[in-house]
Symmetry: C2
């Protein structure tokens, strides 16, 4: 029985947050950035964030690398303490932070060189990050309770938009692709109660959870590792599906549950085989794909470039179900704070 708290409300509000964010996307906000790119001003892009914002940057990172950019994806903590030398005038710094004011982001703004061009994505217009960015895309997720949900999917939306702009892709097509996720996410979430109920029996005595993916699906896998822990207190770990076969495989036991994100292409074939092999080894596993049998795990058909946005929805259902099984309200914090203020 799901206790319908603030996190649950945020999950259901994601389609509205996506629609609002989409309506606010504006090519003019990035015009100067794009011009500087065309002028060859940047030798590299450094993409940075913490927590869910870090994982949200992953699809953009792959897109840039695939198009010949020198892209470096780093947690902000690593950037400021280990590699501050990257923050110079030849770097396009892309910073993603829901609050725009977590401990590492504030430090980053002090550490970077003044002429390091900074393009920011944040949900907080009056944050230090928004105030000191050279280019700014605001997400319009509204207030968020605790666990990142609305701010994560809207950050993915803003980052795809930014990536398409930097790569000189058609922003008309970008907007069209992004607009497709709003109605399908709404349709998927309308069935939230049956989604949650359908998976509860499988989760009753689960002790270890893994969410596995490849390529752009690593974004949802990585975020899953954070939000399962914080919304349910269970040990959920996000991991590369390939890495799971190197070592963690040995840990498979009947109370282990692996959710495998299929993605597309050859990876999807490998994902199916991984699910079968985990079950054969004595664990439990399910696949998240457009062809999944269970409606909970069946992704809406959307362009691959926006799939990361809908891929997190089944993970969110899983967190509601895990908390329901444990008799607690998903996402009600007992220890953590919404904004991480200590490094």
């Amino acid at each position: 029985m799901v206790i319908e708290g603030g996190y649950w409300r945020d999950i259901l509000a994601q389609p509205a947050a996506l629609a609002d964010t989409l309506a606010g996307l504006d090519a003019a906000a990035l015009a100067d950035t794009v011009k500087r790119c065309r002028d060859g001003r940047f030798h590299r892009a450094v993409l940075t964030g913490m927590g869910g914002s870090y994982w949200a940057l992953h699809p953009m990172h792959l897109a840039l690398l695939n198009r010949g950019w020198n892209s470096i994806l780093l947690e902000t903590s690593e950037l400021i303490h280990v590699l501050p030398g990257l923050l110079d005038s030849r770097t396009l710094l892309v910073v993603c932070s829901q609050s725009g004011r977590s401990a590492e982001i504030v430090r980053l703004l002090d550490v970077k060189q003044a002429n390091c061009f900074t393009a920011a994505i944040t949900n907080t217009p009056d944050s230090p990050l928004a105030g000191r960015a050279d280019a700014l895309i605001l997400t319009r997720a509204g207030e968020e309770f605790t666990v990142s949900s609305k701010t994560y999917v809207t950050a993915l939306m803003a980052l795809k938009w930014m990536a398409d702009a930097l790569l000189d892709s058609s922003l008309e097509r970008s907007r069209d692709e992004l607009s497709q996720v709003v109605p399908v996410a709404a349709a998927y979430l309308r069935d939230w109660r049956s989604h949650v109920q359908s998976v509860e029996p499988d989760l009753r005595d689960v002790r270890d959870l893994f969410v596995l993916g490849r390529g752009a699906s690593l974004a949802a896998a990585g975020v899953a590792g954070l939000i399962i822990k914080e919304s349910t207190h269970l040990h959920g770990e996000g991991m590369s599906a390939a890495a799971f076969r190197h070592g963690p495989w040995e840990m498979i036991h009947p109370a282990l549950y692996a959710l495998v994100l299929a993605g597309d292409g050859e990876g999807a074939t490998l994902a199916l085989r991984l699910v079968q092999d985990i079950v054969a080894a004595g664990g439990r596993a399910a696949i998240v794909s457009e062809d999944a049998r269970e409606s909970l795990f069946r992704l809406p058909r959307v362009p691959a470039s926006v799939r990361p946005i809908v891929e997190i929805l089944p993970v969110e259902m899983l967190t509601l179900a895990l908390a329901s099984v444990a008799g607690r309200e998903a996402g009600r914090f007992e220890r953590a704070t919404k904004v991480t203020t200590a490094e």
Copy 2:
């Protein structure tokens, strides 16, 4: 009571493996690679491996980035399926693989362009990787039972040597720094029994384990996440110490144990505070540093560039202790295989 199996023997044989590998390091093996670097042949370095070998590449990746290289660190699975376009004639491909024949490595050799210059680190001279590399550094870890231990520390050694060569650092100094780890690792391991016994009481009812680090210490944290799972069947996760505060924090409970690798500089101060804060929040935590009170967690004093090699030793002690508490032989595989043959 530690059951003294093959993994335990491999752990104790690490100093000998390091000494043998050091004796075999040869500047001539890299002369052609270094010349090509000086000639400006490479626009980027792509560093790749799977499992422990992937994490072993992390310190070299940071060293290259810090010296202005365009370095990209990618799991081999990601490289071959998501970013094969990186494997062209302008790329210095650095491949690390103990066996030289895991599923992804074999595929990599087929996918890369013929003129993509490949520098390999492997423990297996007759492997496909060794046979098809343009430059080769062999580690001399000998046969390994199951879990990576000897091959991991010797790979770190070979990779530091390679990084120093590429960065035109003094190879004499490099050899001197590397030689320092052999006697101190031997001295540390001579006390293995008291190390293990000293931590056993703290581990009796531990359910969730985290190993946390920053910078080059992320290598040991990442490997810890693999080897704790495979050698003890317990859910150990490696993670950035900074990321642990974003989300996972909420999961802290009395059966959670966090080992925090201090590293150096400001990170060490943050690590100490993290340990205190985890304990204050109701979890258990210990710090691994040169100043740690418990001899188990006290690292030998070595140059920072070779610290990753000794940083894994306390983690290995932890795996022996966890298995001992559970009454099983650490590292005896029930499901996994030594060489991962499926993707």
